[in-house]
Amino acid sequence: MFSYLANPQRFLKFARIASPVFLALFLITLTLGLWQALIASPADVKHKEAVRIMYVHVPAAYMAMLCYLALTIASFISYVWRHNLADYGARAFARIGLVFTGLCLITGSIWGRTAWLTWWQWDGRMTSVLVLFFIYIAYLLIWSMSEDKKKAARYAALFAFVGLINIPIIKYSVDWWHSLHQGATFSDFDGEGLSTGHLIPFLLMCANYTFLFFWLSIEQVKTDIKSAQKNRSFKKDQSNIKIEAY
């Protein structure tokens, strides 16, 4: 599938169909998910009404890490095969990931204020997510620093590989350091897990964030392809200027 979409023209054709589909899915799951999360689902025993922050906080955290994984895969493709579309993809994932990480930090901070009575705590989970935020910023700055985009892509990819060590740290930080942040609920299969009433809006919101991610990244890559095309035709026009004698 990757090699089929690697052709920019084919990708644009695919995007024309896929982009509105993902947008529609996003809107549908947003409506259903928000209704479920804010109105239909029950309040929690411990967290009371504040449990509803979970439906925006946890999916944002999951997207922040998923974006980084996607970014590393795209960087790998770009590094090995030097493909333009992989570069566009990697940069798009980084931008989206940066926003999701910021969202995760902000919502987490608000939830922390209600649950632990503090906006911020320097524990393993929060510090490592903050580090992820800085890694995204540094990654994007490496892109913008170099004039030669081919080289910038390689530098950025190398940086992305090194930054990958932060992802397992985020995942396991709650197991390694016991702190304010609660442990894994969803992926802990032996544990109690979420009740059905909480699970439905949670899964809806996760799906919703994922569709948003797909839609945004397709749109971003589409824009990059188009602007590259425009640049190329602009250069072609310049080379067509003829010098005529008076």
Binding site: V131, I137, A138, L141, I142, K151
Partner: protein
């Protein structure tokens, strides 16, 4: 590789501005820190480890920022790569040079800084040990950022931004190791984790820095 190393060391020996600048920056940073803490002896002793660690990191960043610049400007790297020398050995030799000329002077003056910050000799020894254990990680991440930014202008801010995310765990474990040094001795969990981070940093950063450098030479 040893020839390259001796060449680098000879250059630093003949032009001592580089390592002197980092040492002077270290001294200035600590003095400013002490003044900012109002010069109270107890507060100084409390914050000595943090101040010395921050000073070490920033003076490392400042000196590593242009560690490749001279060789790029004079075309020395092109010559090396033409004669078939691996980017990996360039990176390793630069790291050893960096350790000898930048980190070693700082390690030597840490006891003096301890006097400035009114710490016990044992605590100074703990801080020195933490810098020594964290040194491979610090140098590995600094050389990685330097290689990623090789040949660019005005990279000071980017240098810090690129290496700081990776240096965060180094600082955390170093300071926890220093805190428990007094009771547990030097083989405590903080220092153990620091050694682990150093090994991971070396294995990841050296190949990445070498790849970045050969990208620059393409």
């Amino acid at each position: 590789m040893s020839a390259m190393l001796f060449r680098d060391l000879r250059i630093v020996y003949r032009d001592p501005r580089g390592w002197l600048a980092s040492l002077i920056f270290f001294a200035l940073f600590l003095s400013i820190f002490a003044i900012a803490l109002d010069g109270e002896p107890e507060r100084l002793a409390e914050n000595a480890a943090s101040a010395i660690w921050l000073g070490t990191i920033f003076s490392l960043m400042i000196s590593f920022e242009n560690i490749f610049d001279r060789d790029i400007q004079t075309g020395h790297f092109e010559q090396l790569s033409l004669s078939g020398i691996n980017a990996l050995s360039i990176v390793v030799s630069k790291m050893i040079t960096g350790f000898i000329t930048i980190l070693l002077p700082i390690l030597i003056v840490i006891p003096l800084a301890g006097i400035l910050f009114n710490t016990e000799p044992a605590a100074s020894a703990g801080i020195m040990m933490s810098v020594l254990f964290g040194a491979p990680a610090l140098i590995a991440y600094s050389i990685l950022s330097a290689a990623l930014l090789a040949g660019q202008r005005n990279t000071g801010f980017l240098m810090i931004l690129i290496s700081l995310p990776f240096i965060v765990p180094v600082i955390i474990f170093a300071l926890s190791g220093v805190a428990s040094y007094a009771e547990v001795g030097f083989w405590n969990t903080g220092f153990q984790a620091l050694c682990g981070i150093s090994i991971i940093a070396l294995t990841i950063s050296i190949p990445a820095a070498a790849a970045a450098l050969s990208t620059h030479l393409e």
